[in-house]
Symmetry: C2
Subunit: 419 residues, 2 copies
């Protein structure tokens, strides 16, 4: 079963919005053994939408569109599908009633424009949207079915799960597994995995996102599950403790799981990351069992006041120093009464700070009994792009979580550290 995506909206071409919908749909369909073979973005133009949908159906078995189902006049998907099907747009009484009820329940007045969301190409199937106002459509065209979904992510996602997948889900012919690693360079991973790459019916893909590399193992042919298991076994042996999880087991989930197993908690002391570590550690539902809280000591003076970092240390070396990271970790652990404390200090840029270049970071981890441990990861950042700041902050969060994982498991600081 080959599926193509057509995501619709000038905002996507202009880059006002990132196409997270396409990524999410690709992932979800892959989980169900369906393959997205191409993904196209087109603007809010009637004829271009018709052309893209028609071309996609010539190659694929089904097409999913997102966007263009809202109430405003740049929402053209309904019109495009009606024209492609040679059908008129008709107002659906059930949809109109539902719209009026939703608006009334919110104590609002219905804008006449909103009634466009009750129009459907004559003969099209209506896909219930339990999460929002705009219904989806199923339109049968020459070549296959088009599933038109709204662009609002949580509405689209609900409808994929509740409506589209139950209709499309086919049988697996490819088995896939993703291994997640941290602290190894992509070329090191690829070189180590050469023997797995050479296995019959096995294909590897590398997805670097420093300091992480995900490796997607795809198996085809007879006994795909056994092949995949053997490839995974060999890959794990070759990569060792750099493998921290599989599939959707992101670092925050893995750390949450490790802490939960031990009935332990963590507190975060942040500087350049401004709160991102705490945000990451609270993504998971149930994170209140493992995350106590955090202190963002952005101003240097607050590192002393809120975390007890010795003033003479800050005076002698500035805020970006391994001993400061250690003291922050110890301070936040003690003051928030957590099992572990994790702390970062560093220079996100664009300017150097305290004589340290942009990209310098120190990660401290404090644990029950014993000295705090500090890692000094080497970040692959060069040049003076203003984008670097966001990249450095994101990498710092991953290094903090990975160092916390390594301390919990009794592992060393690992590769990719500065000398």
């Amino acid at each position: 079963m080959r599926v193509e995506l057509v995501t619709i909206g000038d905002e996507l071409l202009l880059g006002d919005t990132v196409n997270g919908n396409a990524a999410w749909i690709g992932r979800r369909l892959a989980e169900h053994g369906l393959e997205v073979t191409r993904s196209v973005v087109v603007g809010d133009e009637l004829d271009v939408i018709i052309e893209a949908v028609t071309e996609a159906l010539a190659r694929a078995d089904a097409v999913i569109t997102t966007g263009g189902l809202g109430p405003t006049y740049d929402d053209l998907t309904r019109d495009a599908l009606a024209k492609a099907a040679g059908a008129a747009l008709v107002r659906d009484p059930g949809l109109e009633r539902r719209l009026r009820e939703r608006v009334a329940a919110a104590g609002r007045e219905l804008q006449p424009m909103a009634l466009r969301m009750a129009d459907v190409p004559d003969g099209a199937g209506i896909l219930v949207n339990s999460a929002g106002s705009a219904a989806g459509l199923r339109v049968e065209l020459e070549g296959g079915a088009v599933y038109a979904l709204p662009g609002v992510p949580f509405e689209m996602r609900t409808m994929i799960d509740e409506v589209v997948l139950p209709e499309l889900a086919g049988e697996h012919r490819v088995a896939r597994r993703t291994l997640r690693t941290a602290l190894l360079w992509e070329s090191v991973v690829a070189t180590r995995l050469a023997p797995v790459e050479a296995m019959d019916g096995i294909k590897l893909a590398y997805l670097p996102d420093s300091p992480e590399v995900r490796i997607r193992i795809s198996a085809t042919g007879p006994d795909v599950e056994a092949r995949l298991a053997e490839a995974e076994r060999q890959a794990r042996e070759l990569l060792g403790d750099a493998v921290y999880g599989t599939g959707e087991e992101t670092l925050d989930r893995v750390v949450h799981g490790l802490l939960a197993e031990r009935s332990a908690t963590v507190a975060a002391a942040e500087s350049l990351t401004g709160g991102l570590i705490g945000a990451e550690l609270t993504r998971m539902p149930g994170s209140s069992a493992t995350f106590a809280g955090g202190i963002v000591a952005y101003a240097t003076a607050l590192k002393e006041q809120l975390l007890g970092v010795p003033a003479d240390l800050l005076e002698a070396h500035g805020a970006v120093h391994p001993d400061v990271a250690a003291a922050m970790a110890v301070g936040v652990r003690e003051r928030l009464g957590a099992t572990y404390g994790v702390a970062v200090t560093g220079v996100a840029g664009p300017d150097a700070q305290d004589g340290r270049p942009v990209g310098t970071i120190f990660v401290g981890v404090a644990s029950p009994g014993g000295e705090p441990r500090v890692a000094s990861p080497s970040l692959p950042v060069s040049g003076t792009s203003p984008e670097n700041r966001a990249v450095i902050r994101r990498m710092t969060v991953a290094h903090a979580l990975e160092q916390l994982r390594r301390v919990i498991l009794g592992l060393g600081t690992g590769p990719a550290q500065k000398e």
Copy 2:
């Protein structure tokens, strides 16, 4: 000048990676008056890449590809462009030398596989990558030029700015402006702006991202700049204080600017957002001038210990209560010595808390002199999707920043509040 994008990589189709590159390129080209008219994602398959590039060049004047220039065997862009051009791949001595130098400088050994990054289709132009290892390529095919760039975002971005834009930048024929609003529903915005929509040569597009709606005004025809200015003037008059900025002026930048003008600072007390508000307020370079720090009191007991929220208040009402939001804002402002304090408490889900349903949030803002103010925004979230948690957290951050903006400017809490 029409440009199409071909972004390459199984990881994009499978959704392991979100296509942020396409969004960024669309935005950057639009800023320079260039139009991305279509964007296609294809997997790591030689013939599919060739087909997509060829089709794109048949419609557009130039094609930009990203991805597939790395060292591993699933990196096929070089091979595809060589085949499309009918040229052999040859090793470039200058690129090889540069690769060897970079690796030596990092104190590493060159993996033989990495040398693939020195191969170029015979006759192709080499695009310097000042931010990383993989060079880009300019290949002239029938129909126009293909610019092949690496998929690593900060490398790709650097090369767009340093290499591609200087070559492609054409003259403006469309003038665009984006107004950013908060707290108004999309249909309310669209209804109010009907008179602007009716203006000659003016097109409006709505980009909702609750609680924000961006409105992109496009002007065409003679005197585009004057038309655009008049449309913007009328739109601002119709939307009033809901307009908080234009273009790339995100809420965090606007708040940073307002604070900086007043030599004022803010401190954040967070609960359900786990640090996201602090992270947002420190995205900007220079944010240390306006952001003092934050306290993430995730565990309820820490709201008393770290922020001084009265214990009897927490006992009587739980952590999700307007008075708790007010006390958190006052507490963080005082303890961190900031001009303003902003605080949030609420229920991100998936389960209700303290008898409050998922999606309940309270935003407190404390300022110099006067009582703290609490807003209770109504979030358009329904259903029980596990995605809701992330959506609620993101909306909460935007409401916190918007309420802070409104307090700084002396505005009321605005629409979209619960009764």
